[in-house]
């Protein structure tokens, strides 16, 4: 862990979070905090609607081609998906805990939990690549007509299943990467002492985003891995 003190300002000075002033067009810090949260909730709405397209596509083609969907689902190993679900749930917990520690001014615990959250995101991506994407792609279970070369496919619509699978999990994985970068940025700011009881907007807002990334996986996992 970091060897820096809880706040890197010279001793005797107040930490950065105590000195924080709301941006000049807000009347108070509380108003700014509320505005940022509302903004993030609206953004999360747009994310849900973005993934809604994938889910609608999934539902329609599942209805049209139940065979292909059952076959496709059978190729996925629920244990890797399940492990990744656990990894993301743990990360959501550590994210929530880091907000708690910011509110209590436990700077060390705040930084520790943020870092664990980033590492969980990395573990998710690593598991996804090593045990799922790479073996499947090299076995020809790739998306769509250009890459699909799986000679043992029993249903002509299986390429479509892999199309939906790669689009859904791929766009989700991109969101995991974006979330990890944001949390790492918050971690760097936390090391300088930006967050504390009176100012933890960044941790809160990025936390909201991370929970949504987690939530979308909670829907993708059973739809893709469990129901066949």
């Amino acid at each position: 862990m970091s060897t820096l003190p809880a706040h890197s300002t010279s001793s005797g000075d107040a930490p950065l979070w105590k000195k924080y002033q709301a941006a000049n067009h807000y009347r108070s810090k509380e108003e700014e905090f509320d505005a940022c949260k509302l903004g993030m909730w609206l953004f999360l709405t747009t994310e849900v609607l973005l993934f809604a397209g994938i889910f609608v596509g999934y539902a329609i083609f599942r209805m049209l081609y139940p065979e292909a969907w059952a076959n496709g689902s059978a190729y996925l190993d629920w244990r890797w998906g399940g492990l990744n679900t656990v990894v993301l749930l743990v990360s959501s917990y550590t994210m929530a805990v880091s907000i708690h520690h910011a509110q209590l001014n436990n700077q060390a615990a705040l930084k520790r939990n943020l870092l664990i959250t980033v590492l969980c995101g990395a573990a998710f991506i690593a598991i996804k690549l090593t045990f799922e994407y790479i073996p499947k792609w090299s076995a020809g279970k790739a998306p769509g007509g250009s890459f699909f070369a799986y000679p043992f496919a029993t249903d002509p619509h299986e390429p479509l299943w892999w199309g939906i699978y790669y689009c859904g999990t791929g766009i989700h994985a991109l969101h995991v990467l974006i979330g990890m970068s944001l949390i790492f940025w918050v971690y760097l700011k936390a090391r300088k002492g930006h967050y504390g009881p009176h100012h933890y907007t960044g941790v809160e807002v990025v936390g909201l985003y991370w929970h949504l990334v987690d939530l979308i996986w909670i829907f993708l996992f059973p739809l893709l891995y469990l129901i066949g």
Binding site: H25, D34, G39, A52, G144, P159, L160, C167
Partner: protein, 587 residues
């Protein structure tokens, strides 16, 4: 108007000695850098305005090119091709017509994605929304700057695609055509779709910013029902932007994947469904029709009340009608696909489509009722507002036969549809956009414009517009299909009238351009409140100072209380058109 300092130390003292937001910062380079990196909503609004008007010019040139090609049908006389303007080097008829396809796609894509959708919210909305609320800026100024640069990137992508040769998909990018056309330089289509995707991002971020601004940054004393109706309109628009745009985002993303990797979701060869693309597309694009028209409603509400000096008739009905339109807009997308749905679904979508007529008719009746016994001043904005009522009513009513299943069977994909949506999109949105630019021009740039020439321009636009598009209603009912590069000789006369009209339209817009340039160079300095308006933007300087207000304003009257309030900083002598009856009446 008195001011108060409610909160905190930073409000004390206000901003007394600040200059205009337009004042240059040092030399040319540092001023340009200051504009490029500004988080001031006013500068961003002005930059959007410049960009949108430039792209409007580009899209307009494409429209004129379309009209020139359609001046005569392509015919073979003694083995020679006549009437075809755009020809490739080889002179083949089909190749020439392929150029026509690219030009009308160019026109549609630019006008929809880069001009009409971002136009009013991003240009006028950015400039006015915080000032009308009495705020110093939008909720997230840096996000606002990001939206602007995302918009620039999206527009550049689109223009690059055009320079590479353009696309011929139509602005709707229907599959399977959009996934199979232009394989020689296949990146052009990806670039154009990518442009629409990126522009959608800009739209989402702007909408999100505006929703939060309206919720959190209203001045003390301003309740929800004390907001100007332009703010209500922009707020309803922003909600649609936030809720509908992500769907086109995923749709265009899937389309790009389809083109690059052949994912198959829209490809019937491996079980995909091209009609699914249409559902996804219109689930966004129909609500977005109201992203285009709702801000126009807001502008017209402001113009009619201020230039008739009369309280708006039915304020709450107007506010709820905006929200009602926003809500219904999400339920009508199926009317773009009557042919590909069952009878029951078509009937339901047809019925839901008629619902749109209710809140829009409420608005039109309220505007007319507001004019009744008002002190009407025939300024350019008011003249335009009256033209709007005329054109939008035609545009709205011709939507009904298209929403009716039996008549739509004959009219769909004909020039009737083209004329209908031009009456709404241009006669509604562009007309009110230009009207709004005139109305707020003195506030934005601190200069008055030449009223007489502006009205001349407005009349030319009105005449040219009707000549261009009313003829197309007739062509449509007689069977002229849309998107064709040629036609049977019987249609020649009406097509020629339409082309003449489009050049009168060009002349009208050139007059406006001249009026604007003249105003910037030699316009009379604008007073704070040239029209006698009551909303907060008329209380600040023209042009406003950097932080908008010298003190945080306290709202004591509604934006339309003309019967009970003397407009601040107003001298009727400033009025461009003398009005003795009016001044004697009120003062």
């Amino acid at each position: 108007m008195s001011t108060i300092n409610h909160h905190g130390s930073h409000a004390v003292g206000g901003h007394h000695d600040e200059g205009s937001y337009l004042a240059p910062k040092g030399g040319l380079v540092s001023t340009m850098w200051a504009w490029a990196t500004t988080i001031d909503h006013k500068k961003l609004g002005v930059m959007y305005l410049a960009a949108v008007l430039t792209l409007f010019f580009l899209g307009g040139v494409a429209a004129l090119a379309v009209r020139v090609e359609l001046f005569q049908p392509t015919t073979m006389v003694n083995g020679k091709v006549t009437g075809q303007v755009f020809q490739d080097a080889g002179g083949a008829v089909a190749a020439g017509h392929a150029i026509y396809n690219r030009i009308f796609t160019l026109h549609g894509a630019i006008m929809v994605f880069m001009v009409i959708v971002p136009g009013i919210p991003s240009a006028l909305g950015n400039f006015l929304l915080p000032i009308m609320l009495g705020a110093k800026d939008v909720a997230f100024p840096r996000l606002n700057l990001l939206s602007w640069w995302v918009y620039v990137v999206g527009s550049v992508l689109g223009v690059v695609s055009i320079i590479m040769g353009g696309v011929d998909t139509g602005w709707t990018f229907y599959t399977p055509y959009s996934t199979s056309t232009d394989w020689d330089v296949y990146m052009r289509v990806v670039l154009m779709i990518g442009a629409a995707f990126v522009l959608g991002f800009s739209s989402i971020l702007t909408g999100l910013n505006f929703v939060v601004t309206v919720h959190k940054l209203r001045a003390p004393g301003m309740g929800w029902f004390d907001m100007p109706l332009f703010v209500w309109a922009i707020y309803s628009t922003a909600i649609i932007q936030v809720l509908a745009t992500p769907v086109i985002g995923i749709t265009l993303l899937l389309l790009i994947f389809e083109r690059l990797f052949h994912v198959g979701i829209f490809d019937p060869a491996i079980g995909g469904d091209p009609v699914l693309f249409q559902h996804f597309f219109w689930f966004y694009s129909h609500p977005v029709v109201y992203v285009m028209i709702l801000p126009a409603f807001g502008i017209i509400s402001e113009l009619i009340t201020v230039h008739a000096h009369k309280k708006i008739f039915g304020y709450r009905a107007m506010a709820f009608a905006s929200l009602g339109v926003a809500f219904v807009s999400f339920l009508v997308w199926g009317h773009h696909m009557f042919a590909s749905m069952g009878e029951m679904a078509s009937a339901v979508f047809s019925a839901l489509t008629f619902l749109v007529a209710i809140p829009t008719a409420v608005k039109v009746f309220n505007w007319v009722a507001t004019l009744y016994k008002g002190s009407i001043q025939f300024t350019a904005p008011m003249v335009y507002a009256l033209f709007f009522l005329f054109l939008f009513t035609i545009g709205g009513l011709t939507g009904l036969p298209l929403g009716t299943l039996s008549t739509d069977l004959h009219l769909h994909d004909s020039y009737f549809v083209v004329a209908h949506f031009h009456y709404v999109m241009m006669g509604g949105t562009i007309i009110s956009f230009v009207a709004g630019i005139h109305h707020w021009w003195p506030k934005m740039f601190g200069r008055m414009y030449n009223e007489r020439w502006a009205i001349v321009g407005a009349c030319l636009v009105f005449i040219g517009f009707n000549l261009t598009f009313f003829t197309q209603f007739i062509l449509g009912t007689r069977g002229m299909p849309r998107r064709y590069a040629t036609y049977i000789p019987e249609f020649t006369e009406l097509h020629q009238w339409s082309t003449y009209g489009s050049f009168i339209l060009l002349l009208g817009f050139l007059v406006h351009l001249f009026v604007f340039i003249h105003s910037l160079v030699a316009g009379r300095p604008a007073p704070k409140n040239p029209w006698g308006g009551l909303s907060l933007e008329w209380e600040t300087d023209s042009p406003p100072i950097e932080h908008n207000f010298h003190h945080e304003p306290l709202v004591k009257h509604g934006p339309y209380d003309f019967e009970t309030t003397v407009p601040p900083h107003w001298d009727p002598k400033d009025y461009p058109i003398p009005a003795s009856n009016f001044t004697a009446d009120k003062h």
